[in-house]
Symmetry: C2
Subunit: 301 residues, 2 copies
DNA sequence: AGCCATTAATGCTTTAAGAGTATTAATCAA
DNA sequence: TTGATTAATACTCTTAAAGCATTAATGGCT
């Protein structure tokens, strides 16, 4: 049995007239009569009770009609849905971001995406860079905002705007008054850094920059959350580095100072699997690109 | 799009191998490759991501597969159900019967029908003959146990076993001792009959038989229910006619006497619309026939 | 690094299912 | 009785789909 047969049957069942049904199907009456008869033979079921002058459905024909219409409807629905999914208008997208990404342009991107593709289910999870890479490996993630470097054989990376980090000092620290501050000024300080395994790239970068400035930093504590580091700075445990964008939300007992010359910096990036051909992911990247073009445009004015 | 395309697609999606899928479909690989490609062109959707060595589903392909399998399943289900309905194994049957029919062979017939066709929904309603005819007219009824005569242009009638009616007398009535009783013996009695409009045929029959016996019956009361009539006989209001099969269930203060010669009698019949081609109804009649053949066979032994 | 096996695609031919045309047969209404 | 209506039949024709032979590209294996 083919959908053709079902379409023919429904036309005849609707009109109860082979001639008119044939017309509706843009074919001739004999061809239609033959197809219906063939369908009945195949089913071994009489669907119509015909006289030479009239046609009506049998009981079985009535039942078949109901199902037939449902099948045709489902086929139509399937075609439509498949097309929408292929166009990226429907489906789902699993998104991850590091904690600090929420303080950046990311929320705006997500908002725009939701607006433009309301039928795409968004699943968002906060994950650190390392967790994101693992999730990508396990096919648990489609798009991630993270901090390179990562395994670029698996992931395609698009760098976003660089993010410079500033020094957090207690309000009453002597250096809080000095304005052009360089890394070498911090040589004798105690440092509160983030745990090495949470962000080895940045950690090593800091150590390396300090060594270039002629000292090895004295690390008194390792704390993951930036806010907590600022808190510890406030009570005089030491000094710390935090992202520039987080400084406004900081503690009142803390001042933030930009470093002149080499300073710790990270460049957030957006990642996807190389082998991912999801049109939704493509569209997400499209929006990311547009958002940045737009943002630059605004800045230029 | 045709079911063929869907079947082909599912085969390729299952095996992810054009050659093996073609084998499973009993066709050659190039033909299959071409059909899949045509399907993709028609849908304007890439369903497979092919390399020269491997095939895998795209996101849209995955979604389509799910729906495709469901469609194929539904088609299979529809064919099966339609066949069962055509064979009379599924569907519904609306059945009516008069009150007294429940005291006859009818329950046995229904029991056997339920046994043999458990997937047929039975809707049973008690209706008098007149109500049944109305229900048939309104297409509200498929099979009815009723008492002719009825409109035989609408209904096809199969008569069942004739049912003779007996006289109910008070236990201490003088005629209770006379054994060969005839209708003329009742000439001076008071009669409790059923209401004329409830069964005009039987009512007229009784009047007619009495007149043939040389008298016009003196009717003191009209009561529909046979049991109630027997009750009134017990307290001496008059005498009554009841169906032979009901006499066992009668009042202890009442005796029942068969009439010699002409006696009121009814022949229950089973009715269906002439234009009803439901296989279920046919099968019901089949069982009715078998049940009677069987019953006669038992009697003969 | 090169060769062979594997596998999907392409070009051409063949087949058969389905459609068209002309006609028939039966039924209902006037 | 006749004519209009309508589904079925007989035959021919068209075309979509299948088969066959071959190509092209890829990946594994020595």
């Amino acid at each position: 049995m083919e959908l053709r047969d079902i379409r023919y049957f429904v036309a005849v069942a609707d009109t109860l007239h082979f001639g008119r049904a044939a017309e509706r199907l843009h074919m001739t009456q004999p061809a239609l009569s033959r197809q219906i008869r063939a369908l009945e033979t195949e089913l071994e079921v009489q669907l119509f009770r015909r006289t030479k002058r009239s046609v009506k459905l049998t009981i079985a024909g009535h039942a078949f009609l109901k199902d037939a219409q449902q099948i045709l409807h489902q086929v139509k629905q399937t075609v439509s849905t498949t097309r929408r999914i292929a166009r990226g208008e429907m489906g789902h997208l699993r998104l991850s971001f590091t904690t600090s990404a929420l303080r950046s342009i990311v929320p705006e991107i997500v908002r725009e995406f939701r607006n433009r593709y309301p039928d795409v289910q968004l699943a968002m999870t906060e994950r650190c860079t390392h967790e994101q890479v693992e999730a990508f490996r396990d096919h648990q993630l489609d798009v991630g905002f993270l901090y390179p470097p990562v395994d670029e054989t698996l992931l395609a990376i698009t760098p976003l705007q660089p993010e410079t980090w500033v020094v957090a000092l207690p309000k009453d620290h002597p250096l809080a008054l000095r304005q052009p501050l360089t890394l070498s000024d911090l040589a004798t300080e105690s440092f509160i850094l983030h745990p090495r395994q949470e962000g080895p790239y940045l950690y090593n970068q800091i150590i390396h920059l300090c060594q270039q400035a002629g000292f090895y930093p004295h690390v008194v504590q390792e704390v993951a959350a930036c806010q907590t580091r600022a808190g510890l700075v406030a009570v005089g445990i030491g000094i710390a580095f935090v992202p520039e964008i987080l400084q406004d939300a900081g503690n009142r007992a803390v001042v933030y100072r930009t470093l002149k010359g080499d300073a710790p910096s990270l460049q957030m990036a957006i990642a996807r699997r190389h082998d991912d051909d999801s049109p939704i992911v493509q569209q997400f990247f499209q929006i990311v690109e547009e958002t940045f073009t737009n943002a630059d445009y605004l800045k230029a004015n």
